[in-house]
Amino acid sequence: MKHVRPLNKKAQNFEKQLTGQPPAADPKESVSAMQGANLGCSLVFDPGWETDATGGVTGLCQPVEADLYGCSDDCWWPAQVPDQITNFPDWADKCAAAERDWKNLDLLNPNKP
């Protein structure tokens, strides 16, 4: 980290976290929707869609495949699905209904030119 300098707020907060400092709070800019609710499709970002607020699965969407586009279209699962905003907008074009057509979801190979 000696030669790396944080440039944005997320990186600055990450550095603070590493050094044990509390992250900068900026409530005006933080995302709020469903943050305080004790429910939702997933409040545990580890890795993101397997557990609900209670650590179980009954609060998840049923069947879980049905939640794919609801949660990925607005980039709420930026780590769990391909980056469809910039690099892979067509990754799910062949899969109209996830619970029925999930085999048609594109597999992305980052090494593919």
Binding site: A33, M34, A37, G70
Partner: protein
Amino acid sequence: MIDKIAHFSFSSGIFCSSARATALALLLAAGLAPAGRAQTQEPEMYAIGIHPHAIVLLDGNRDEIAGEIQITGRSPKDMVFSPDGKYLYVTSEGRSRLEMVNVAQRKAEKVFDLTPAGHRMTIFGLTINPKGDLLYIHVKLVKMLPDEFKVEPPQIWSVDVKTGKINKIVEVPEGVMTLAMTTDGRQLIAWGRDIYYVDPAQGRITGTYPLMSRNLPDKGPVDALAAFVQFERSGILSLPFYTKDPITKKDIFGFANMDLTTGKMDLMELGPPVPLYSVIVAPDRKHAYGLMLQLVEVDMTARKVERMVNLERTKYVANISRDGKKAYVSGASPFIHIYDTASMKLIKTLNLSGDPGVTTFRALPPLAH
């Protein structure tokens, strides 16, 4: 021909307008209402977006899918009908695109070129004025500089539907997710962390109703997801909300009801939380139905939960028939499930060709009938 059909169909109705005649003609042209039926029944149409890039039209008289309209962008999100029902405006392609769909001709007639040069733009919130000549959109802009992405202040624009001309109305705080307009067309309701009342004529925020900024000794912040909105049947934009009682520390849920005829807000607390994504209010405003994993019926007069049944699948979004007897619930899986509101039983399942994601489920507005 059209005028005669309109006369036979609507001469005994409350609304007998040219807009209604236009709407019927459009529905006939779209194959939504057989001629024989059209003479005895008023048209009842709904639209919902599905993956990857289509709008599904639902005929509420027959409870059948009446057609699919392919649009140019992926993942339709916010939608609003023009007051005469002739056009459907929809955001697509990662909320970056605004399209005008000709309902009768079943095609995307126009794509508005709105994104300023050198920017990336996303649209969260779309509504239209009562006259139908101006759309209002809430946009988030990112300036794509060579070495930096510069986030610009969120703002509300008007868009002239004929010319596509943009006019910046006002900058708003971060977090706005939906827009609606009071029925008199004088106030925009921008729903975000709080609710902002915007006077489009003055170009300023004239009032704020605190939600997340509510911090009273006995009332905590209000958390509501303004993603799945509709209000055509009742004139009430209702959303489920969640809060914590600062004294008892207990979680509470309720319905946040924005009356678009008056602009007045009512936070209706209902008890221990039930997970819900959206709410529909019956046309007579006596009952409302929340949905996610369950369908929850609320007595709006007694302000309490009356009944609750498990849904067949998770649902995001819904609408309700003009007579209030049927709830059309959808979102997530590729189905529209029709529930009888009297018995709370599933009475019909309609298959869709794609998943409705975070889309809206809009009814043809009352004045178009």
